[in-house]
């Protein structure tokens, strides 16, 4: 971006918004918005507390377990749907409903099924993340050129080899894109799940700070969470870039 003939470095807009936040915060116009500098100080103090560390660990644990299940199940169903017309017809409608459905509404039901604990949160993460992984994997597998599969068969690939060495690798760019979008949704899932269960992890802290109007800690928590979600997404994107070169030349 250039402004008045000067090249403005990236992320500069973020700085502008940070400055506006600071000014609004210092003016004291809204007690919900403390100055950004205070929030950052609170964030540094927060991450050193045992409460936060325990909450972060619980959250990360639920998130990772849910994501592993979502990736394994999502890729498996996606490959099945991409390869079998019957499976595609049978499952397609459900996947498309769930990918766009407001899943938060289901969490209370999950609480009844799985109790007020971590299991519910894990299931929420799974349900938030899995559908987009299914859809992207399916698209990737359907995009594998038929000749590549015929090549594998004609050179004597077994079924397992065909999937492991050809189909999954050829669909990798789409699968990774699905996982990246799934991770973003999974972060939403873990927070929403914990907020609704509201007695564990990050959800408990959110609940605590917002109920006590401890806005500095509340915003600190939010910023840490946003940064973590963006960081994860960027990490997967960098892996994606490594295989991107062949998405166009398959």
């Amino acid at each position: 971006m250039t402004l008045f003939g000067y090249r403005v470095p990236m992320m500069a807009s973020l700085l502008v918004w940070c400055v506006i936040w600071e000014i609004v915060g210092r003016s004291g116009a809204m007690f919900l918005v403390p100055p950004l500098s205070h929030v950052l100080v609170a964030a540094v103090a927060l991450v050193q507390t045992g409460t936060w560390q325990a909450a972060a660990l619980t959250t990360l644990n639920s998130f990772l377990i849910g994501m592993v299940f979502a990736i394994v199940v999502g890729v498996a169903i996606g490959v099945l749907m991409g390869r079998s017309v019957t499976a595609d017809n049978l499952l397609g409608i459900w996947v498309n409903i769930f990918v766009s459905a407001p899943l938060s509404a289901l969490v209370p039901v999950l609480m009844i099924l799985f109790g007020m604990g971590e299991t519910t949160v894990v299931v929420t993460v799974f349900l938030f993340a899995v559908w987009i992984i299914v859809l992207d994997t399916r698209a990737g597998v359907q995009g594998v050129p038929n000749s590549l599969i015929e090549m594998g068969r004609s050179y004597g690939a077994s079924r397992a080899t065909l999937y492991g060495k050809i189909i999954l690798l050829a669909a990798l760019p789409e699968i990774l894109a699905g996982i990246r979008l799934g991770v973003v949704r999974g972060v939403k899932g873990v927070v929403i799940g914990q907020l609704l269960v509201s007695i564990i992890g990050y959800g408990e802290l959110f609940e605590l700070y917002s109920r006590n109007f401890d806005m500095e800690n509340f915003w600190a928590l939010t910023i840490i969470l946003f940064a973590a979600a963006m960081g994860l997404s960027a990490l997967i994107e960098s892996i994606e870039k490594r295989v991107d070169y062949y998405a166009g030349v398959r």
Binding site: E150, T161, V249
Partner: protein, 268 residues
């Protein structure tokens, strides 16, 4: 040039006494209601390059893929070296129209892939692959990826992969159709050298009459759907001459002309 009618084809090959590598017996193929091939009987002599030529939609690629064991025939039988074909096998190797290279693998890994699937050790298969990479003229490109190569070079990788598995029969499905004209000519010349050197049976599908006459020992012309054998021609061209001399040779030009006259009425 020798023109053998379809009826006399089997008899002619038998009197010639040549060894038969691939026998096609009564092959029919139906795609739902569409009849793609109707009772094809054909012999492919060992060590020769036989071309399947015909208008688009005549089922020549279908016949090649049936021989490869990639698609099942509705009825009829394929025998390779006397054994009935039930699926793909190590005695046949396929070269694909769109190359079918793995974009995530280097030239070396692509060429060695057939051997990798056979379970051969890494050093051994790479040594074999290196030999064929050199033979198709790609030395120095071992560690390149397919997207870094031109179309012609990519098909050379496809050809090297087929050679590397040391199959008796090489099946080439319009291998040059995605290669630009200048590279195609050079590639055809190189292919003839390799045919001479490798002593394998080649079955070659093309829609280019010039390519068929230039490369083939025998040309099988299929009619439009349902595909049947319309004509079998053996262009008797002196292959020891230089490529440019062959392309100006009267026999070559006459054969091209005759095939064109036969195929002309299929073009609308």
């Amino acid at each position: 040039m020798r023109n053998i009618t379809a009826e006399a084809a089997t008899a002619a090959t038998k009197t010639a006494g040549a060894e038969i590598a691939v026998e096609v017996r009564g092959i029919c193929k139906m795609y739902n209601e569409v009849e793609a091939l109707r009772s094809i009987d054909l012999d492919f002599p060992a060590g020769k390059l036989t071309t399947l030529l015909g208008p688009s939609g005549c089922g020549k690629t279908t016949l090649l893929k049936i021989i490869a064991g990639l698609i099942p025939a509705t009825s009829g039988e394929i025998r390779v070296n006397g054994k009935t074909v039930t699926g793909p096998g190590p005695e046949r190797a396929f070269v694909f129209q769109d190359f079918a290279l793995m974009p995530w693998a280097t030239v070396m890994r692509n060429v060695a892939f057939g051997l990798e699937l056979k379970g051969m050790g890494k050093d051994e298969r790479q040594a074999i692959a290196a030999k064929y990479i050199a033979e198709v003229g790609l030395s120095g490109f071992e560690n390149k990826f397919p997207h870094e190569l031109s179309g012609g070079m990519r098909q050379r990788v496809g050809l090297a992969r087929a050679f590397a598995v040391n199959a008796d029969v090489l099946l080439l499905d319009e291998p040059f159709s995605a290669v630009d004209e200048q590279n195609r000519r050079k590639f055809q010349e190189d292919l003839l050298e390799l045919v001479e050197k490798e002593k394998k049976t080649f079955i070659f599908v093309t829609h280019s009459i010039e390519e068929a006459v230039y490369c083939s020992d025998r040309i099988v012309i299929l009619s439009r759907r349902p595909g049947r054998i319309a004509q079998i021609i053996e262009p008797e061209i002196d292959r020891s001459a230089s490529p440019d001399a062959i392309r100006r040779d009267q026999g070559y030009l006459d054969t091209v002309e005759e095939i064109w006259q036969g195929l002309k009425h299929y073009v609308d």
